[in-house]
Symmetry: C2
């Protein structure tokens, strides 16, 4: 099992899962500008552009399956430092419009080398968000209306390969995530809100998204960021989004007074 690790807690969870089941694993972490702290479990660190080196490491370690875990920041072209194998992919990368398209190029390259690419939730099915409310706090009627409206907006954006998150407060759309990520979205919310303790973060998978990569994910840090942003709670797609450590997410939400709910969005 080769684990291509981005930021966040997901790579660590996958390592735990491999250890628990006695599965062999090899973690490659990607070094990027502004990247999250490199996971401690990484056995190797490579640049995002070092495609040949990455493939060689996976082959040398005898990996048969590969899982992509956690967000990998798309770097500026000038700092990409492509190796020879990476340079051969460049025309396809340059033609990739949007992040889904880019990830498809990466998946094709991995599969072209004979690796089987699986999703983090194939390893850990319990990562997928369950339907219904987690923990003590429940969305209000107003919150439910915001969640429904937020779902509609994300569905409307579906054809354009844009972000997976939106923040609403009592019918008003405070922010939509594009390339900046959920943390940056939440960071700008407090100055836009009318009152603290209201509003929701809605995170859904993009329609047509390859579910082996880039599933929307929340963890304890997301709950803390949502609380700092002054929101009432978080809604994620049941069976579509990953909740990294359900127990700590639930405990943190209970402690901070937020609801976390798994929803089944109505089709557009």
């Amino acid at each position: 099992m080769g684990i291509l690790a981005g930021g966040g807690d997901l790579p660590g969870r996958l390592v735990e899962a491999c250890r628990a089941t006695g599965r062999e694993f090899f973690v490659i972490a990607f070094e990027g500008e502004d990247s999250e702290p490199i996971p401690e479990v990484a056995a190797a660190r490579v640049g995002v552009g070092a495609v040949g080196k990455t493939l060689k490491l996976l082959h040398d370690e005898g990996c048969e399956e590969v899982v992509l875990a956690g967000p990998i920041k798309r770097p500026a072209l000038k700092s990409l430092k492509l190796d020879w194998r990476g340079a051969r992919l460049l025309p396809k990368v340059a033609a990739a419009k949007g992040d889904n398209a880019l990830l498809s190029v990466v998946l094709d390259a991995l599969e072209g080398e004979g690796f089987r690419v699986i999703g983090a939730d194939d390893l850990l099915p319990q990562l997928l968000a369950p339907e219904g409310t987690l923990g003590r706090h429940r969305p209000s009627e107003e919150d439910l209306r915001d969640i429904d409206r937020g779902s509609q907006i994300l569905r409307a954006l579906g054809p354009y390969d844009i972000g997976q998150a939106v923040v609403l407060e009592e019918g008003r759309v405070l922010g939509i995530e594009a390339a900046e990520g959920t943390r940056a979205l939440l960071d700008r919310i407090p100055s836009l809100k009318l009152a603290a303790g209201r509003g929701v973060l809605v995170k859904l998978a993009k329609p047509g998204q390859d579910r082996r990569v880039d599933r929307p994910a929340i963890g304890e840090s997301t709950v803390r960021q949502a609380a700092e942003a002054g929101l009432a709670g978080i809604a994620v797609e049941a069976g579509g989004a990953i909740i990294i450590d359900l127990q700590s997410v639930t405990a943190t939400a209970d402690e901070l007074g937020l609801f976390v709910v798994g929803i089944v969005p109505t089709e557009a």
Copy 2:
């Protein structure tokens, strides 16, 4: 003519237009937290919640027509300081979902008092963006594709009363404006871009938006911000967006190497 002035250069332009045509005018500026510098032409300053005071000032000065000019920041409820007349509007304000709905409440209140509300472009028709390229620089084929895609995205968001701007770079959506405004949108672009000198800002009027208020507007400062964000140019809706001082916008765009183009978006 009563001019209810928000931030930016538009109130000053309207004052110039009134002076040039010998029209009497009275400018009321709104004080808000984090608001733009109060226009120097203001004869009075009131809080956003001082609805009764505002109406009394307009009546006392004998205003028959009222124009809303420039962005007025929606304040947090706790700092709204409603006067008695404002408090009577509160249920309607609280029920207003989205900024269009809120502005409708304001317009209704003004019209209920017997004022005729006109648009800034009724006073200054030359403010409306013309069709075609301004200045020396032209969008590339890639830019035109981004403009078309950006227009489609804004159209898809139309039913949800969300922002009027989107930034794309070679097919990838870097940012969508919601409540944060165009300046904040542009501020976060540099860290998301692949390369400088590429990508476009697209600004369109929201479908169904009351064109007397809150038309999308660009000015010289927008061109400078777009240049700092590393974009190749700006596309605005011809006949729908306001260009504050066409001459300085064109000169600045020429100087900084950006294109500015007025487009007629295809209907969704």
